[in-house]
């Protein structure tokens, strides 16, 4: 009996109709609504916390409504809600009502990457001194592992700029050239999350290393897309930012 009651209670709280519970309780509708508002409303709050820039772009009312739709279609299956919101970007991409905001799903992917980076496992970052001890041959054949908190999101839109100008403390949002494609790199160093746009050669290096290619091949991939690629500056920035793990 208890399992049946719990199935009916869940259906009642996830929907709008109290009828499934009629056999079990005789309570005013408002009492059930207290539980329903908590169950549905708390998930909207969880998504708001994870996707503040998406909310700012579409507005609070529209966001809350779509967040409720997502929660109805893909309810959480784990009680630690720091993992809830995976899939929200893909859900946004399916909406016809946001077709005038073609960059929205990619901005959501960037926000989810930030969320994942924040909660990812700890690991020591690669120490530049380690590389200095290696011979050129060794360096050329080196494979570098991504730090668990590193994420890269490539988009046909300027997602880093869109993300930056839609921070809550930016009041004067400038016009952005939407024809620019950007690759965002998210890193975590000493507990701080950083986001930056990678130039084309830089993005090619990180993509190649992330695909387990050796450093020489990754650098070749960078020169293939950018003849003026600066190897030293690129590696220096990644080592300082903690892109790779030791």
């Amino acid at each position: 009996m208890l399992h049946d009651l719990q199935l009916r209670f869940a259906a009642t709280l996830r929907g709008a109709d109290n009828a499934p519970l009629a056999d079990y309780i005789d309570a005013p509708a408002g009492r059930i609504a207290i539980y329903r508002n908590t169950v549905q409303g708390s998930l909207v709050e969880t998504l708001r916390a994870a996707f503040p820039v998406v909310e700012r772009i579409v507005g609070a009312t529209f966001f809350a409504s779509r967040a409720r739709d997502f929660a109805a279609a893909a309810p959480p299956r784990r009680p630690h809600l720091s993992t809830y919101g995976d899939g929200f970007a893909d859900f946004l991409a399916t909406l016809t009502t946001t077709s005038s905001l073609p960059y929205l799903a990619d901005v959501a992917r960037l926000e989810w990457a930030l969320n994942e980076s924040y909660f990812a496992a700890d690991a020591p970052a690669l120490d530049p001194a380690t590389l200095q001890t290696l011979s050129d041959d060794h360096l050329a054949g080196l494979r570098l592992a991504m730090h668990p908190a590193t994420r890269m999101i490539s988009s046909s839109f300027p997602i880093v700029r869109i993300w930056q100008v839609n921070q809550l403390d930016v009041t004067d949002v400038p016009a952005i050239d939407m024809s620019i494609a950007e690759t965002a790199l998210v890193t975590r160093r000493d507990g701080h999350i950083a986001v930056r746009a990678l130039a084309s050669g830089d993005g090619a290096v990180v993509a190649a290393l992330g695909a387990d290619q050796v450093l020489d091949d990754a650098i070749a991939a960078a020169f293939a897309v950018d003849a003026a690629f600066d190897v030293q500056a690129c590696l220096h920035a990644h080592l300082a930012g903690g892109t790779f793990r030791a």
């Binding site: 208890l2 399992h3 009651l5 709280l13 309780i25 309570a27 924040y118 990812a120």
Partner: protein
């Protein structure tokens, strides 16, 4: 607790211990866990789970149990608690503490789940009475009867939330004083105090207000009867200045101190 990280890091914070919601720290790493480790190095920590769903007819989620066990092995908390409630059915997590009918079947299910949790954690847990907004027609035990029986069957203790007793009795009927007197004193390992709001005549357990005078009175009587217990002020929405929170904690301490004096007099 994140809102209080800076304060907890302040050597002048004189609170004797702190409580966390376990589910907020089930991440793999990052700054939140680092902050918890820093705080746990300086204060005794109590872990209050909000998602294990002891009342689930389908049993506990083994993956969640495993993650909690790992957190508790890492932190070695002074107290571990969960709720007499359910949140999971058909693998879906409903983010609330939902009520149970108090029947023999429910008691069997909750006792089995408490046994599983205590086995996985290798320790005794405390089970908290929920705040309720409705009751089931099938219930044939009172909540204190159910809780006492659960403690007797499993060896678990009680986290007695005095505000929840007040809220539940006001909302679904019952006398809060009689409720507290029916509770087995020896089982009580921790007490929660919190504020509530009133909406359309229904008391809502919001943790957003000062503790109500009626709840202070119930707490005084309870402590006079059973003695002092570790007491936590829960205030996690519309959180006030630290001074307001510490004043609530100090008021609870004064009540405990005066009860101890009375006990000493009688002896």
């Amino acid at each position: 607790m994140p809102a209080f990280a800076a304060e907890a890091d302040d050597a002048r914070l004189t609170t004797p211990w702190l409580e966390i919601h376990s589910e907020n720290y089930l991440c793999d790493g990052g700054p939140r866990l680092a902050m918890l480790d820093a705080i746990a190095a300086r204060y005794p920590i109590s872990c209050h789970g909000v998602g294990l769903s002891l009342g689930s007819a389908e049993g506990l989620d083994p993956a969640h149990l495993h993650r909690l066990a790992a957190l508790y092995a890492r932190l070695r908390p002074g107290l571990v608690s969960e709720h007499l409630a359910w949140s999971v059915v058909d693998g879906i997590y409903l983010n609330d503490l939902l009520p149970l009918p108090y029947t023999a079947e429910s008691l069997d299910i909750v006792a089995r789940n408490v046994d599983a949790a205590q086995d996985a954690f290798g320790r005794k847990i405390l089970v908290e009475n929920p705040s309720a907004y409705l009751r089931f027609s099938a219930s044939h035990m009172s909540e204190p009867e159910f809780l006492n029986a659960l403690c007797a069957r499993t060896g678990c203790g009680l986290l007695l939330d005095v505000n929840n007793v007040h809220v539940t009795c006001a909302n679904v009927g019952g006398d809060a004083r009689a409720y507290l007197e029916a509770i087995d004193a020896a089982a009580v390992g921790e007490i929660h105090l919190a504020g509530h709001t009133v909406e359309d005549g229904v008391l809502i357990d919001t943790h957003s207000r000062p503790i109500a005078p009626e709840v202070w009175d119930l707490y005084s009587d309870l402590v006079a009867r059973i003695g002092a217990r570790p007491t936590l002020i829960e205030w996690d929405r519309d959180v006030p200045d630290r001074a307001v929170l510490l004043a609530e904690a100090a008021a609870a301490q004064r009540i405990m101190d005066s009860a101890q004096l009375k006990v000493a007099h009688v002896a």
